[in-house]
Assembly symmetry: C2
Homo-oligomer: 139 residues x 2
């Protein structure tokens, strides 16, 4: 089973809760917030405490199994599985619909910037927002 290997390779213990969290993230294709993960696990009869979800995600983010995702219009932290291939999202300010933008427009730019500024740039966060076709009228 490969989910277990991912954890083991990173030196994290294999627990039902962590496997559950990773399965949730694997099933949905969009970034999920902490409470939603807990609820989805509860729905599948896996009891888990909120702080456990927080801690597990933080630990797994630290070793690169999952990614934190921020949206400027939302104070919550979201997580997604770190599938290879970095990308960003487009989100609708009204209905919250998300669209994955494939390919990152900033890869080369960030490299140039690192050279120019002498910064060691480790990443960036981009989120583009507006109104989806359906919500454009009813603003």
């Amino acid at each position: 089973m490969e989910i277990k290997d991912v954890l083991k390779n990173k030196g994290l213990k294999i627990t039902k809760k962590r496997i559950g969290i990773l399965k949730v993230l694997d099933m949905v294709e969009y970034p999920v917030d902490v409470l939603e993960i807990k609820d989805k696990l509860n729905d599948n009869d896996i009891e888990i405490n909120l702080s456990t979800v927080y801690r597990a995600l933080e630990d797994m983010a630290e070793v690169g199994i999952v990614n934190r995702v921020n949206f400027s219009s939302d104070t919550r932290v979201f997580y997604e599985l770190n599938r290879n291939g970095h990308h960003h999202y487009l989100h609708c300010l009204k209905c919250k619909a998300l669209v994955i933008i494939d390919g990152c427009p900033l890869d080369d730019y960030q490299e140039d910037l690192a050279k120019k500024t002498k910064y060691d740039l480790t990443g960036h966060n981009l989120d583009i927002y507006g109104y989806c076709p359906k919500c454009q009228d009813k603003k």
Copy 2:
């Protein structure tokens, strides 16, 4: 006095507190968080309640006098004066130093994306992070 005109033009009442907030934002060249604004006003003998700062900034952001700025590594909301010319920041994860990046690498990109996706894109939030030259060793 032009600060007053800015408020008046947007239909907001001219108050000492709002003028004070705008002066603080005008003096510093980087985005400031709400508590820091309150403290800076207090230092200048302007007593102001935190919730007033929150409300004033929200109101002024709504009419475009100031901009909200988010950094993915910080849960607080920051504000900056809306000087014309949109830009982004580079920030150091260790010492929190900020560098303004002039020119936005996404202007054309966002427009293309809007056409492709039929979204009405109203803006984006970009923040690039890493370690400044001084902090690179002592990670």
